[in-house]
């Protein structure tokens, strides 16, 4: 099993005729993902990897049953593409674009909440259930990172994710489903909102979250554990522990404001509910082992 996507998920790709869309659609398909059609305005009638292209999502849905939309469009156009998918009634959307305007990300999340839809992204590699299905731009060919297994992974980062999952794999574990919620200050889906899915997934034995300074997503995870709605072992690794206060490092999301959102705060919140916080990437795998999590 898995969360969000599996081998039966029928995926529509928005922006499939673009360079990125073509490249990653092929990799999604090669990994087992059911890509059923694509959408690019002006390109109806063409095909990409033998899949038909339509002008609009609405037009595509007249010919296909679709469970999820994968958005490969530039950041400036992402809001419109996501809203198109949501307006057409699609309840799962992944958008990877890096550089979506902040106010657009707010509207995307707002509309997703209103529709009861789950949008993952942006500024992420997407979602992967290793060896089963993938939506996004994961280099699943890097085996020492994307190995099938029992650990659910949620992350705000890109390269750091590889760093951490490599350490999980090093200890003999693999990943059930990895969800990159993304590095934007307003990710469309937040860590805590995915915990119920991991809780319900029998093949997920523990969850690893890869967090960062800034925001309150890690604190929300602690709240969810506190409420008893998530009971599996949870290990967190958080970047920015030693970051100087008030500095903006990389992501706009990583601004420390008013003493909230510092890594120290996050560690305190998580440890208060008996979640485990690794100091170094390597400790993540070691902690899973120590906790007796079954691979």
């Amino acid at each position: 099993m898995s969360i969000f996507i599996d081998a039966t998920t029928r995926v529509l790709v928005q922006g499939m005729t673009g360079q990125e869309g073509r490249f990653w659609s092929e990799h999604m398909m090669s990994l087992g993902t059911q890509v059923v059609c694509g959408v690019t305005p002006g390109k109806a009638g063409e095909t990409v990897h033998d899949r038909p292209i339509y002008h609009t999502v609405e037009q595509a849905l007249r010919h296909h049953t679709v469970d999820a939309a994968m958005v490969f469009v530039p950041p400036r156009l992402t809001k419109d593409a996501v809203l198109e998918a949501l307006a057409a009634g699609i309840k799962k959307v992944v958008t990877i674009a890096d550089g979506i305007p902040l106010h657009d990300t707010v509207i995307i999340r707002q509309k997703a909440l209103e529709c009861g839809a789950r949008v993952i992204g942006g500024n992420t590699s997407g979602v992967i259930t290793p060896e089963v299905a993938m939506m996004g731009s994961f280099p699943h060919w890097i085996e020492r990172v994307y190995k099938k297994g029992t650990i659910g992974v949620m992350t705000r980062s890109g390269s750091l994710t590889n760093e951490v999952t490599a350490m999980i794999v090093e200890q003999g574990y693999g990943v059930s489903t990895l969800v990159g919620v993304g590095g934007d200050p307003v990710p469309a889906t937040r860590f805590a909102e995915l915990l119920a899915d991991y809780q319900a997934d029998d093949d997920t034995h523990a969850v690893v979250i890869i967090g960062e300074l800034g925001g309150t997503m890690e604190e929300e995870v602690a709240d969810t554990i506190q409420s008893g709605r998530f009971t599996k072992p949870l290990v967190a690794f958080l970047g920015g522990r030693n970051a100087p206060k008030g500095q903006k490092m990389g992501h706009a999301g990583a601004i420390i404001t008013g003493g909230k959102g510092s890594v120290a705060d996050k560690i305190k919140a998580l440890e208060a509910v008996d979640a485990h916080v690794a100091k170094r990437p390597r400790e993540v795998g070691l902690l899973l082992k120590q906790l007796g999590v079954k691979p």
Partner: protein, 374 residues
């Protein structure tokens, strides 16, 4: 993109929020004319982006031309090297408020925060008396509704004379926040004058860089300040922060770079600069190295774990940079990800000893930095 106080205030004023009468000057010769327009008493405010200007002596209240000249000479002088000075009329203040608009990421709304106790250290207030900071969220498509502005103003205990004017300023702040694609619009202090006017005493405005394409009014004039390395990095869109330590970071991915920073400090090392050339910048290794070399450091540490940002492409860039720039300090690499084998071969062919474990690389960099110091 952070705007200077005078830039933020110009935007406030254009949008109907009152600001004190003021003039911006760039050297001493302009002082007299400015003082003639602004009058006394007035305030000399250094236009720099760092916080805590008051404590740093960068905001000076003056009553006479002599005081003004002395203060201006000091600020333009060799100690502070201020580039721009705002000469601003002193306002008769009855009360100082704090007001800010930002985003509530969880609710996916705009967030207005107001406190009747402005001017002070708002972060301390937020921690010690969170109930004194009133909050209201609003739909980014609707703006702050008049009833919301009115509600917060009466909840704060303001009386009828001020409430309508203040509510209007709050609505305008929200409008401007939305129109400018702002990350933050903060006015602290927001003055209530003895005449009952609401006047912006300061202005902090951060514009979303991702929205620059539709916020075309912010031309080069509005660019962030900094030294040469910072300006070059900014021009290239490469995230960069300068510190004063030993190890120059040249990593890919904000999360990974931050983590490497943490590990260096854990090992007892210090950082010379943060530089992140991941994502769309992964092909800019030459430029990244060039910027790193402009910062004094004892060793350069390169850590990547790239996917779309291919390892071989990054390695090529690094090799190219070494050939061209002939760095005067040791380089430690830990380059992994897509086409890692090709990257490794390439680096080895150019005399480097690639590592593949981040902790190991960090330890080596810290050791090299210590060697160079001793």
């Amino acid at each position: 993109m952070k705007l200077h106080e005078y830039q933020a205030k110009t935007l406030f004023s254009e949008h109907g929020i009152l600001i004190p009468n003021s003039r911006l000057i760039v050297d001493l010769t302009e002082l007299e004319d400015a003082l003639a327009v602004v009058g006394f008493p007035c305030v000399l405010k250094a236009q720099v982006l760092s916080g805590g200007r008051g404590k740093a002596g960068l905001i000076v209240f003056v009553r006479t031309p002599a005081e003004a000249r002395e203060a201006a000479e000091r600020l333009f002088g060799p100690t502070h090297r201020i580039g721009r000075l705002l000469i601003e009329q002193a306002v008769d203040i009855a009360q100082e408020i704090y007001a800010a608009v930002t985003i509530d990421a969880t609710l996916a709304k705009g967030l207005l925060m107001v406190s009747a106790e402005g001017g002070v250290d708002i972060e301390t207030l937020a921690v010690e008396h969170p109930e004194k900071i009133h909050r209201v969220t609003f739909d980014l498509r609707d703006g702050l509704a008049p009833y919301q502005a009115t509600g917060i103003v009466y909840a704060l205990g303001f009386d009828k004379n001020v409430s309508r004017t203040l509510a209007n300023v709050l609505i305008k702040m929200a409008e401007l926040f939305m129109r400018l694609d702002a990350e933050l619009l903060e006015i602290n202090p927001l003055f209530i004058t003895t005449e009952g006017k609401i006047v912006a005493g300061d202005g902090k405005l951060i514009i979303d860089d991702n929205a620059r394409f539709r916020q075309v009014e912010f031309d080069e004039e509005f660019l962030e300040e900094g030294d040469e390395a910072a300006r070059e990095a900014h021009a290239e869109g490469i995230p960069f922060i300068r510190f004063t330590g030993d190890i120059g970071l040249m990593c890919a991915g904000a999360g990974l770079t931050t983590t490497v920073y943490d590990l260096i400090l854990d090992e007892g090392g210090t950082v010379a600069n943060y530089l992140e050339f991941g994502g769309p910048n992964y092909k800019k290794a030459v430029k990244a190295m060039e910027i790193c070399l402009k910062v004094p450091s004892k060793v350069i540490l390169i850590v990547t774990f790239g996917t779309i940002a291919r390892a071989d492409v990054m390695a090529e860039g690094i090799v190219d940079a070494i050939k061209r720039l002939k760095p005067d300090r040791p380089i430690v690499t830990c380059i992994r990800g897509t086409n890692e084998q090709e990257a490794t071969t390439l680096l080895e062919a150019h005399g480097l000893t690639p590592l593949f474990d981040t902790e190991e690389a960090v330890k080596k960099a810290v050791a090299l930095a210590k060697e160079a110091t001793s």
